[in-house]
Amino acid sequence: MSQFELDAKRLLCPLPVIRTQDKIKTLNIGDILVVTCTDPGVMQDIPAWSRINGHQVLKTESGEYEFVITIEVGE
């Protein structure tokens, strides 16, 4: 199990979701991906995408300008 970071700042939805999806394709089950974004829309879209595709959102953090989502890669 390894941890990876993804910078999706300045991208507007659905691009952060697409980048997350494409990154996760290269990871293994159990890996952790931490995605940092600036579009607040990701707080809905990335968890929804993760639920649909069998990945688990471990944590969401919202700052004033940044939103960080931690995902565990599922099957």
């Binding site: 939805c13 659905p14 979701v17 697409i18 999806q21 809905q44 649909i52």
Partner: protein, 347 residues
């Protein structure tokens, strides 16, 4: 045990593709969704940018549809490849800059490629005959099947009964009598079917889900191409055409003036790419200058920007002008009067 039949469905986020997908799932087929992001999708972006939309839920409709149906959704970035579709549409444009028929062919072709790579059996779309003047007509249905290469592996469950039987029907993977014969622009049959399936909270976007069908957006795109002397664009262009007032006082440059705080915040991200200005002596919006502007042009731009600030009635106002390196200078200008700006400056 017989092989599990699998279909990939083009999910737009609207009701028709949702119903079409469900109709096939009901027949025991394993379905996964695919959604293409051209850059021009209304979804997401504008909600994120414009403050006035902040109260509406910011859900992404295609994700919502997939979750409601309980299927996987693959979102594919086609921004680059889509340029050729938009710039050189073989079948031309619709009422605005929407190359719907070429767009449909392209998306089905991409879906076919995905189907083959992932060992799926056929493709589903939510097309309804006669629903859209350009892309959803009796004559266009075979064009899409043939030009995409999907041929008889393309199933339109909502109007399948009015079309020749497809391979999945002939093979008995799906039953024709459980498909539909919807046609025309009316929405009643779709709403009745939604009711039957128990879908209530579905999206019915009034203005469509694509900026290319929008008259004002299309005008700005045409203006951009004309000013550049070539049909070219990148993602930043696509995004900036969605925000602000666009004013072109001279052929060589235009001004994008933020209309509200949400747009101004979004435009802040472009300060390192474009010369930008705002009123320093009064409250006023941020503006970006696109193109090659001379010192005289910048003076004119400053007068325009001043007109949108609270100093619009003042004799003189200070406008802060920044180059892309962030060097700032102050320009004193007389704001334009409300009627001093010719109508044809507004794109």
């Amino acid at each position: 045990m017989s092989k599990q039949i699998k279909a990939v469905s083009l999910i737009s986020g609207g009701l028709d593709s949702m119903l079409a997908t469900k109709a096939i799932m009901e027949q025991g087929v394993h379905v996964e969704g695919i959604n293409f992001f051209t850059g021009f999708c209304v979804e997401g972006h504008t909600h994120a940018i414009r403050k006035k939309d902040k109260d509406k839920p910011k859900r992404n409709n295609s994700l919502w549809v997939a979750e409601t149906l309980g299927i996987k959704l693959h979102i594919i970035d086609i921004i680059e490849e889509y340029k050729d579709v938009l710039i050189n549409p073989k079948h031309g444009y619709g009422a605005n800059m929407n190359p719907c028929l070429d767009c449909k062919v392209f998306m089905v072709k991409k879906a076919k490629q995905w189907m083959e790579e992932n060992d799926f059996d056929f493709i589903i779309t939510g097309e309804v005959m006669g629903q859209r003047p350009m892309s959803q007509r009796r004559e266009t249905m075979p064009i899409i099947s043939a030009e995409s290469g999907a041929d008889d592996r393309l199933v339109r469950p909502l109007c399948a009964q009015s079309l020749p039987a497809t391979l999945p029907e002939r093979e008995g993977w799906i039953h024709r009598d459980q498909l539909f014969d919807f046609s025309g622009r009316g929405r009643k049959p779709q709403m009745a079917l939604a009711n039957e399936y128990g879908f209530t909270d579905y999206s019915q976007p009034a203005g469509g889900c694509c900026f290319l069908t929008d008259e004002s957006y299309s005008k700005k795109l045409v203006d951009l191409w004309k000013a550049r002397g070539e049909k070219e664009y990148d993602l930043d262009d696509v995004m900036l055409l969605k925000v602000g007032r666009h004013i072109r006082p001279r052929p060589n440059f235009k001004i994008i003036v933020a209309r509200e705080d949400g747009e101004a915040r979004f435009m802040q991200g472009y300060k390192k790419t474009y010369i930008n200005m705002n009123c320093a002596s009064h409250r006023g919006p941020l503006a970006l200058i696109e193109g090659d502007a001379s010192a005289e042009d910048l003076h004119l731009a400053a007068q325009i920007v001043a007109r949108y600030g609270q100093g619009r009635d003042a004799e003189l106002v200070d406008i802060a002008v920044r180059d892309i390196a962030g060097n700032e200078s102050i320009m004193q200008v007389k704001p334009f009067g409300v009627n001093e700006m010719p109508k044809d400056w507004f794109i």
